[in-house]
Amino acid sequence: MNKTSGKYFDGISSRPQDIELQLDEINAELRFGIYLNTTNRWPLENISFEHIGDSLEIRCKSNLLALIKVIDDNFAEEFISILKAKGHISWYQRIIRLGIKIHLAIAALILGAIIAGYLLFIPWVGEKAVLLIPVHYDISMGQTFYKQYVDNNSIDNKKTKYLNLFAAKLQLRNTQKLHFTVIDSPTVNAFSLPDGHIIVFTGLINLMKDYDELAGLIGHEVSHVNNRHSMKMLCRNLSGYLFISAVLSDVNGIMAVIGDNVHNLQNLSYSRQFEQQADEQGTQILILNGINPKGMTDLFTRLQSSEKVVVPAFISSHPITTDRIVYIKKLIAHSPHQYVYNPTLNELFNKLKN
């Protein structure tokens, strides 16, 4: 029956004492004799146990240091099932004893919930957070960056003046005051800051052949400003980062690092969404101003021919140029439009080029 032998440590010395113990289901107690004549009784309701590998260690709440050690799988199984039947096993031990398959399922469930939360919740939080942040915060952030940037680069004052005049002729649906700056540099690039500063490099202007391409570029960059893309990016970035570190850093360092990298890749995809939005709205701005929307695709064709390295779409922040050209062409085909030659814009564009 429920009898076995084991070792008893009395919590006074480390000397192991050989004991015979008996599990009495009816009286709900564990009985064991020390020195053959004294019988100790541990009520099952006061018992705690640990079952690691083949060894079962039993303790009683009345003296937490004393312990019984049993190495007997049959006894351990019976002991645990009786405790279970009498309801003396905690919910925690029940979960722990569910086994590796259930634990793997729990892990998969948590990971799934994290991914779902991340993909659905974070962009939403990002969007909502932007509404809470006042625009003047965008402005001061942009100004700080602009100051630093301009200090380290040379401005072409004449061309800056012409570019501002050029932009002033366009209806840009802008919500903020716009400031255009031309930087004297062979780099083929342009970017916008959240405060409405738009920076264009001479390297890009020199590449353009027609004023409608420049108008396309302006339309694109202004759309970034109008939609507060920088701030949205920052909010998504931060909230995603906080989320990832909150749920993963307690697990382990490597998981947190993996999470961070996945997050960075995801940010690139956010940024591609923003680029596409800017392409769409930039094209609409061209149409609104009676400028040939083909300027947008021409701009990208030129950018494409100047690109030396082809970066795959999933790691580049701008959607791959060919994809963008195809997308904008489709967009133009679906939007009714008319355009006329604009001599003023053409003149300003030529001045900019020289």
Binding site: F9, D10, G11, I12, S13, S14, R15, P16, E50, I52, G53, S55, E57, L64, L65, A66, L67, K69, Y92, I95, I96, L98, G99, I100, H103, L104, I106, A107, I110, A246, V247, L248, D250, V251, N252, I254, M255, I258
Partner: protein, 327 residues
């Protein structure tokens, strides 16, 4: 006559025994514990953390055995939760003082006080952590204990930090050995006393050599540096009881460390972090199997001597400060 001869023999040639240190925790069992901890921590928005920590320690201590008898960690989530709350209050006060001085437009004074308090809290936290963690550890029903004096550690700590700062960090090796020596030499397991005899000069040379060779070999030597550090920590530790002792020896090689660390890294990376449980159980297995214990101590006659101590504040503070527990 025969009995006398036996006693004579024993005195002449102390009978050196080997003691077995082993780890019995399985990766899949630990995985279950970590996953349930993770689930409950998320569900309770982090409040489960102290309980999770207790479960974690209970498993790791409970899976480590000396002479096939397991260690036990008796600490509970409740104790750690109280410590956790106290820790948050203490850090809140320290940050509050900093904010107050910034508000009063005395940021330099504020930051000075802030750093001073931060350094002052370290020895207090370490002391508390040792007292709690050891008093909650037992083997064969015999409680461990830490008998260091808080004020003595506090003064020593400030002295060592001061020397480390004025020597631009060079004294750091001496500081680390003095700290380790003070802490471990005050550890008891019943009437067994621990001793640590590592010295700063040896430790400094070991680190200097390890650092330079690691640089020259582009990191490859680091595994041999680990080996040396591990051996230095282990082999300077010994246990004593009434003239009997146990000495520790490391048999790990640099190649062993290379194999263990690289495999663990691969396991964790290719399972996207879920294999962490296996990496830890493998590490524990490695450590316990590479430490050899030898001596003439009778482990059946250790007596209970240490008191109960249930304040986990120090343990939670060291946890929050991310200080690893030595041993």
């Amino acid at each position: 006559m025969e009995i006398e001869n036996e006693i004579e023999n024993e005195k002449k040639i102390p009978d050196l025994k080997k003691y077995k240190l082993s780890f019995h925790g399985q990766g899949k069992a630990y995985f279950g514990i970590l996953i349930v901890n993770w689930l409950l921590t998320i569900v309770t928005l982090g409040f489960y953390y102290p309980w999770a920590k207790a479960r974690n320690l209970q498993f790791l201590y409970g899976s480590t055995a000396l002479e096939n008898d397991r260690f036990t960690f008796h600490g509970t989530g409740k104790e750690m939760f109280v410590g956790f709350i106290k820790t948050i209050v203490i850090f809140g006060i320290i940050y509050g003082i900093l904010m107050l001085f910034i508000y009063l437009e005395m940021p330099v004074l504020g930051i000075t006080i802030f750093y001073f308090l931060f350094i002052a809290i370290l020895p207090v936290a370490i002391h508390g952590s040792y007292r709690y963690r050891f008093s909650r550890t037992s083997w064969r029903g015999i409680r461990f204990g830490y008998r260091g004096d808080r004020n003595e550690l506090f003064l020593g700590f400030f002295k060592w930090i001061f020397f480390t700062i004025i020597t631009l960090g060079i004294y750091g090796s001496w500081m680390e050995m003095k700290l380790r020596g003070y802490l471990l030499s005050n550890v008891r397991a019943g009437n067994v006393e621990f001793k640590y005899k590592g010295v700063g000069s040896e430790y400094f040379v070991l680190n200097l050599k390890g650092y330079l060779l690691t640089l020259i070999t582009l990191g490859i030597y680091s595994f041999w540096w680990y080996k040396d550090l591990f051996a230095y920590y282990v082999e300077n530790l010994s246990m004593h009881k009434a003239g009997q002792q146990i000495k520790l020896k490391s048999i790990a090689t640099g190649g062993d460390f290379f194999k263990m660390i690289m495999l663990n890294l691969l396991i964790v990376i290719f399972t996207l972090g879920l294999g962490y449980a296996w990496a830890i159980t493998r590490t524990m297995n490695f450590m316990t199997s590479k430490i050899k214990l030898e001596g003439d101590m009778d482990l059946d006659t250790i007596l209970q001597t240490e008191d109960d101590y249930n304040d986990a504040t120090g343990d939670d503070m060291t946890g929050l400060l991310d200080i690893n527990f030595i041993i």
